[in-house]
């Protein structure tokens, strides 16, 4: 689950990190009033969407007090913002953050992640902030400093101090950096984040200010933080993906026209690749899970049958815990309810395959069963092309 910039900044401010003065606004008029109250010569309007690259996409505007703030805010609020991360659909902007603009002496980077290889919480810092960390890693790997935290000892002051003095020689600023590192680490561990990042963290005169912040919470640990659930912004998520997840399905929309149902994430990814290998384009990734129920299968099937773009359905199941007879019952249930409007190509293998086959044959539904995965994928591609 991702947080908006303003939500992330609230968490930081609650732990004593300085953030620019400002407020989140939902109406252009509200933005005008907020800007007036800030009494700042220049203010910044920032679209609140779950994506980076907002500036380049026109989602950030720096305006002086004389400018028509209302007009500039109207250009952003209520629009969809398309960035390099959102895809062509973009994300809706329902709120903007209106903030004072501060003089910047230096931009720093600070980020906390869980390193997959060392399995340790790792804090990354750089004196060259402002650009994305991936770009920084490519262009100036020597300017990224990291420290790794012992899971049972936790972050110690000497570690934070050591990192701070790699960013500055100024004793006061170093002291401030230590406080920010500590706060960001506590947020990361305290809320089970997958990412906590301040970029840039700016030195502005004597002060250290978090100019932008990004905090993502790990979905698997949300049960420990029920209070964070209210921060979820459903408008930033694909509703079909969200409702599929509630059914224990994992669904991701793609651009093609072959609807896919597969059990298991790895096999599902591989099935998409196989369709592409034969020149087709999958409409979706859909993993019904290792042990899906008849109802979950029927739900998965309904998602595809309702998708107008889908020209053919390809079912690829390797039954292990999920039995082929359960699969067949679920598919038949959905087809009977919605009517067969699409060609269905099924390749099933594994536990109770004979019962599954028998159920399909007995149903009288026009399901094409192809035992070879390769042949089945080819047929799905040809069928979708012919439709």
């Amino acid at each position: 689950m991702n947080l908006h910039e303003y939500q992330a900044k609230d968490l930081l401010a609650a732990r004593g990190v300085t953030i620019p003065r400002g407020a989140v606004c939902y109406e252009p008029l509200e933005a005008v009033i907020t800007a007036r109250h800030l009494k700042s010569e220049v203010v910044v309007l920032k679209a609140q969407v779950h994506s980076g690259g907002r500036g380049k996409a026109g989602g950030v505007a720096i305006v002086s007090r004389e400018d028509d703030i209302r007009a500039r805010a109207t250009e952003i609020i209520g629009k969809r913002l398309v960035t390099h991360q959102t895809g062509s659909q973009g994300l809706p902007v329902s709120a903007i953050l209106v903030e004072e603009v501060l003089p910047v002496d230096q931009e720093l980077y600070l980020g906390v992640v869980l390193d997959r290889n060392t399995a340790r919480v790792t804090i990354m810092a750089s004196p060259a902030g402002g650009m994305e960390i991936e770009t920084l890693a490519k262009e100036h790997p020597d300017k990224i400093f990291t420290l790794s935290v012992h899971p049972f000892i936790g972050l110690k002051p000497y570690q934070a101090r050591g990192l701070a003095y790699r960013l500055t020689d100024d004793r006061n600023i170093a002291g401030e950096i230590v406080k920010v590192i500590t706060a960001l680490y506590e947020i990361f561990v305290g809320y089970d984040c997958s990412l906590a990042e301040i970029n840039p963290l700016v030195i502005s005169g004597e002060r250290l200010v978090a100019l932008d912040a990004k905090i993502n919470l790990d979905d698997h640990a949300l049960f420990r933080h029920p209070e964070m659930g209210r921060l979820r912004d459903r408008t930033q998520e694909d509703l079909l993906e969200l409702s599929a997840r509630k059914e224990g399905l994992s669904y991701i929309k793609l651009d093609g026209n072959i609807g896919c149902i597969v059990n298991g994430a790895g096999l599902a990814m591989a099935t998409l690749d196989l369709i592409a290998f034969h020149g087709g384009a999958p409409a979706n990734f859909l993993d019904v899970g290792g042990g899906a129920s008849e109802q979950a299968i029927a739900d998965a099937m309904s998602i595809l049958l309702e998708d107008k773009r889908v020209k053919a359905v390809f079912i690829n199941i390797f039954g292990g815990i999920l039995r082929c007879d359960v699969l067949a019952r679920g598919v038949i249930k959905a087809l009977n309810r919605y009517g067969v409007r699409l060609p269905v190509i099924a390749r099933i293998e594994g536990t109770n395959i004979d019962i599954g086959k028998h159920l399909f044959e007995e149903s009288g539904l026009p399901i094409q069963m192809i035992p070879s995965l390769d042949e089945a994928a080819k047929l799905a591609v040809e069928t979708a092309r012919a439709a």
């Binding site: 997959r116 994305e132 690749d273």
Partner: protein
């Protein structure tokens, strides 16, 4: 010989009285695994179809000499049983549970590594050694066949698909191991390759990777420098859009790292045979073994 689990393995199941724990403990025993006990606090003295239940792993080890544990415990509480198994001296810990908070896994893994044990998973189908008739996991046993090929994967059903192909092509397996689909898991490709390198009964390896992280790139580095047996590799997720979790918590391209292409390139350069069409893995391995 096979690796990690064999005829001599004495296996317990933590969470044996739960629905999944019971079902799979019995399925493992049916396959031939020496299931010596189970653990569910408060149920010592009961039995699951003849398999004795103990209150603690410590007691189970004392009474049965167990050295391998299969864990089926809900995600919210799964860190504790892993630590309990380490503390009781279990050498190979297989954690099936999906959805464990990554920071919990990371903490438990620290202790596992410090004590020199093996953690397989979490979010894994487990490990099976067909020549030894030993299965510690949830994979369908009947698709396997004893033979010379080691299989390492980050996935469940995709592994079954590949194993099925191998078996149908007449190629048997020494040990098949699922590393797990989470971002942080116990054993890595490199850890398992090291064991296969020293296993005289493994002549070649199938490596099944997927998007997310850099475990495959690390494996490629190791294969190039140290590994002396043929490797056939397949990487899933070429079509995955960046920033989306593809079913597995760990299968995500973030900030341009973890792409299928980067892994394919690395493995190709390391001398592995990378397969583009999933359905050809069995046939290619057949050819390589001659």
């Amino acid at each position: 010989m096979a690796i990690l689990v064999n005829k001599e393995s004495r296996v317990i199941c933590q969470g044996i009285t739960g629905k999944n724990g019971t079902f799979h403990s019995l399925a493992c025993r049916d396959y031939g695994t020496n299931m010596v006990g189970g653990v569910t606090p408060g149920k010592q003295g009961e039995s699951v179809d003849g398999i004795p239940v103990f209150n603690t792993v410590w007691t189970a080890v004392k009474e049965t000499g167990a050295n391998v544990s299969l864990i089926f415990v809900p995600a919210a509480h799964a860190m504790d049983p892993i630590l309990e198994a380490v503390d009781a001296g279990i050498e190979v810990i297989v954690c099936i549970t999906e959805g464990i908070p990554p920071l919990d896994t990371a903490s438990a893994l620290h202790t596992v590594r410090e004590e020199g044990r093996y953690l397989i998973g979490p979010n894994t189908p487990g490990v099976i050694s067909p020549p030894e008739r030993c299965k510690v996991g949830i994979m369908p046993g009947y698709i396997h066949k004893p033979g010379p090929v080691g299989v390492i994967s980050r996935s469940g059903t995709l592994t079954y698909e590949v194993v099925d192909q191998l078996t149908k092509a007449g190629v048997g397996q020494s040990t098949c191991i699922g590393l797990g689909g989470d971002p942080v898991v116990g054993m890595s490709f490199v850890d398992v390759l090291k064991l296969f390198k020293d296993d005289p009964d493994t002549e070649a390896v199938v490596l099944i990777g997927e998007i997310g992280g850099t475990a495959e790139e690390r494996a490629a580095e190791y294969i190039e420098k140290e590994f002396n047996k043929p490797v056939v590799a397949y990487i899933a997720g070429r079509l995955a859009p960046p920033g989306k979790r593809m079913g597995h918590a760990g299968a995500i391209i973030s900030g341009g790292t973890g792409t299928a292409q980067a892994k394919i390139t690395a493995l190709n350069q390391a001398g592995a045979t990378v397969i583009d069409n999933l359905t050809q893995v069995g046939a290619v391995m057949r050819e390589i073994l001659g």
